[in-house]
Symmetry: C2
Subunit: 563 residues, 2 copies
């Protein structure tokens, strides 16, 4: 694990394109590069695999069994101390691919696989497929050696081999993947990705085994959104770092709000499908108001309900003398509001067939509730809905800046209350969106260690001949030494969805559970946070010192609840 | 310097309003609270004051002498080791005020003054004026004791006593300030602020001395913008932390840009008058393009010039296969462009007297260059210029999101080049504004130490009977032990400006010097940064470990150049 000779000074991967030059690293980057990574004790010497009982599926096991005849029902694999029996002179040929959006720690998963191969298998070869799954299909890869991998240790981003959002779906695409597996004589492939990518990994495992190819496939749980998790996979990597980076900024904004005393900061946070990031940031920082999409959806709230909730608290705060505050909103908020979905559907229909006349006659085509909602929206949002469409002609919901929309709606509502005499202050809303800033941060110690163990463990699973499993590292509340390492049958995470008349396997996104410990803790405190100021400033992520090894609230609360 | 007993557990300042509760601090906040602050060795024991030669002014010394008959020409004061002769049993009554926008470290200036009084003067009293200079005029204050001050040690923000933007200007207002000084029997007042606030501090010093009041006034250099500095005051506090927080985010965005390979991130950074923050962040992170307002102004560039400069680099990069990048823009960019100033002036005139007709006949009233520029602006900006006005009916230049404007103009220009055949890629611009996120960050070790020394030194100057000086801590490239401590005549920083037919004293803002070392270094590297990727990710500010005590490039380069 010491740096190879060539990396002292300039590591020239520049010819390859945008490669890293450790010679221009910042002091913190350099200190991270040289930071040694601890391994769980079971990975420090030889091990045996202890298989669990046969697995089932998260739902509709019969259908999943039909879709995965070759890999369904596999037991989970747990690494336990033992004499192993794995041949150290067996050289392996292993590929790795990054799939989907960046998450801090991806480079450490690769480092973990690489180090496993270096340390436990003689003469192995490792390929990094470039630009995501497309790299597998086009057989576009880089051969990974120490010089290539080293500058990325403990560094953020996915730029070592880059990522992509393509999927391997059609029979032709599976054929291309097979050809690559055969051409490179791959013993194994590690797919680092989210729910879709891991489903895809399992389909590849199934396909390779069905075709009698030797190539095994192991998945790794990646997503800053935190919505890929289950009992065996307690968290997805990147969530910890991203939430900490966002929380640093939120804490700073809170201190600013309290110091100036005149702004309401509306902070939109990444996370379109689930609100885990928003919830975790709330637990870290104690904002005055936090909107959790899953709750809005469960309570069938309207946009007006959400606006009123925010406005009510602003009015109550003004009576206490506080005309400032911080409000967290998940990026996917409006996707959680049924009436908004209905309006969008109607708009897409109308825009496809009718002319939008300036006089507004077209609005008569909207159902009355949708019409009412449309009129309730700020003018800028109305225009955006009508004018900006994607290549399919659909309204671009993702482009709506929810935090700005909410500011405008709250402003309008407060104006009303001013006239009614129930509010007499000046409202100043400031908008923020924290997204790109967090997903490529330098991995926290937790993510760095977790990812290294995930990768090292994936190497061990492939070396043991396992396929169709997701690398699973557990007991995360304990010191790294005591973490458990193994693999969980990907099919056990799956259910089916009916699409175009066919069953499709899916790993359901883990949403914020309203009965779960993290939301319950938040719910028990939010009233106090709303009216008193209990702001916490987590500060910048520390890599050394007493605070460096803390993990996140969501994970700890969930682990505590399971214990 | 150890925490008072009451602060173990909950420090209840809640009754006062939005006070801090150390009991809800994050681990990093708590560790900062308990972080001990080093003092320059000259402040560790008794000292003498060595006076320098009489001072002059930065310009028009005769006029400054007339405006400050009682304090003009004072020598600078340097603290040197000595037997002192200051009575330790002399109790002082000292006030402190925070003026203007927040800057990390303000609380440590207050802690420094407080600790000086506690340790060197028996039975002293300290008052914190609330909400800025208005607190002086209205005699609104909190009495500062250990319990009150302790929870704010090494913490960001200005919320201990809050700040404000009022000025003490009229004879009535000076009278109010005198009344407060007399009522509280003040021996001294420390004004923590930027160029205007320090000018104001000097006017107060002059006024108090002119009226034979005993109250002395000492200023402290505060502003994240970094535009209050001179030989004796090498930097203003807060600049270091703010630039580091922004650079962390920029570094993350760079890693993201390189990983996805498809976005141009346009980052607007705080700093309306000068571009020091943008320049420092560029030196820390090596972006592909950086616009420095002072250079745009010196070269009399037009908005079209700036757009072309950006577009040219984007085209060159696309030929190298890089369709991504990071671009830094100072908040005040358009204030630096003469033609924009001209257009705004004409618009203000037209909007005040004419109707803006939809057909656009009103545009004929614009001079031809202004008309051309107006048509060059994106439609959204045109509308913003016409529709959004401040209470005086003027165009709200400050509200223009320069980064979004530039994205649109670059997009339009690239579209043209596509049609001409000189560009054939897809351009995706992403906008960011980093402002509030940085100005209330947890102070870096440098800012924490610098501010503590500034405050402790201000206490020493007041104890020595000095007035009209700005607290000056020097030799900042050396370890804290070796820092010099003293005071510089505020009048020596001043020039006059003619306003409404009268000479007004001003401390001129220190702009980015195009001949200065920081800009020269940037200029020598920017072509390489433009086409190669030399991104640096500074990572989160570290408080312990090998990287914790680094300062910023601007300061170090300027100190080196002076040496």
């Amino acid at each position: 694990m010491s740096p190879p000779a060539a990396s002292n000074g300039s590591v020239s991967t520049e010819k390859e394109g945008p490669g890293r030059l450790a010679s221009v690293y910042s002091e913190v980057q350099t200190s991270r590069l040289n930071h040694s990574l601890p391994l769980p004790s079971v990975l420090k010497s030889s091990f045996n695999i202890a298989d669990g009982p046969p697995s089932s599926a998260a739902g509709n096991p019969e259908e999943i069994a039909k879709l995965f005849p070759n890999v369904f029902g596999q037991p989970s694999a747990m690494l336990v101390p033992g004499d192993g029996g794995l041949a150290a002179d067996q050289s392996l040929r292993i590929g790795v691919v990054l799939s989907g959006g960046q998450a801090p720690g991806g480079h450490n998963v690769i480092s973990g696989i690489f180090d496993y191969l270096q340390e436990r298998t003689k003469g192995s070869t490792m390929y990094g497929f470039k630009g995501g799954p497309a790299g597998i299909m086009k057989c576009k890869y880089a051969e990974l050696n120490s010089e290539f991998v080293y500058p990325y240790r403990n560094q953020g981003g996915f730029d070592m081999i880059c990522s992509g959002r393509d999927k391997i779906e059609t029979p032709e695409q599976f054929k291309q993947a097979e050809e690559t597996a055969i051409k490179l004589d791959l013993d194994g492939l590690v797919v680092i990705g989210g729910d879709d990518s891991n489903t895809n990994a399992c389909l590849l495992a199934e396909n390779f085994r069905g075709k009698n190819l030797k190539t095994k496939v192991i998945g790794c749980p990646k997503t800053i959104d935190g919505d890929l998790k289950c009992k065996e996979v307690p968290t997805s990597f990147g969530f910890d770092t991203a939430c900490k980076v966002y929380s640093e900024m939120i804490g700073n904004v809170m201190t600013d709000a309290r110091s100036t005393g005149k702004y309401y900061h509306f902070v939109r946070l990444m996370g379109r499908a689930a609100s885990h990031i928003t919830l975790e940031c709330a637990l870290q920082t104690h904002p005055n108001i936090t909107i959790i999409g899953e709750e809005v959806s469960a309570k069938k709230q309207t946009l007006k309900n959400v606006t009123d909730y925010v406005t009510d608290i602003i009015c109550k705060r003004s009576k206490l003398g506080y005309n400032y505050g911080v409000i967290l909103i998940p990026e996917g908020l409006i996707d959680f509001i049924p009436e908004v979905q209905q309006l969008i559907a109607e708009l897409n229909e109308i825009l496809a067939h009718d002319v939008v006349d300036e006089a507004g006659v077209w609005k008569k085509k909207l159902r009355s509730q949708s019409h009412e909602l449309f009129e309730f929206l700020p003018q800028a949002i109305q225009e955006q809905l009508l004018l900006e469409r994607d290549p399919h002609g659909n309204v671009q919901v993702a482009k709506i800046e929810t935090e700005k929309m909410l500011i405008q709606m709250v402003e309008t509502e407060l104006e009303k209350r001013k006239q009614e005499g129930s509010y007499n202050q000046q409202f100043n809303g400031q908008s923020h969106f924290f997204g790109y800033e967090g997903r490529c941060g330098l991995p926290s110690n937790f993510d760095a260690n977790y990812c290294y163990a995930l990768g090292y463990g994936a190497g061990a699973l492939l070396h043991s001949g396992k396929t169709g499993l997701i690398s699973s590292v557990g007991n995360l509340g304990a010191p790294v030494e005591e973490w458990t390492v193994g693999g969980t049958a990907l099919t056990s995470l799956m259910d089916v969805e009916r699409r175009h008349g066919k069953f499709k396997p899916v790993i359901k996104k883990a949403m914020v559970e309203l009965e779960g410990a993290p939301f319950q803790k938040f719910a028990s405190l939010r009233d106090e946070w709303a009216l008193k100021n209990r702001y916490i400033s987590p500060g910048p992520v520390q890599f050394v010192g007493p605070t460096a090894n803390a993990t996140n609230h969501t994970l700890m609360l969930e682990l505590d609840a399971q214990a």
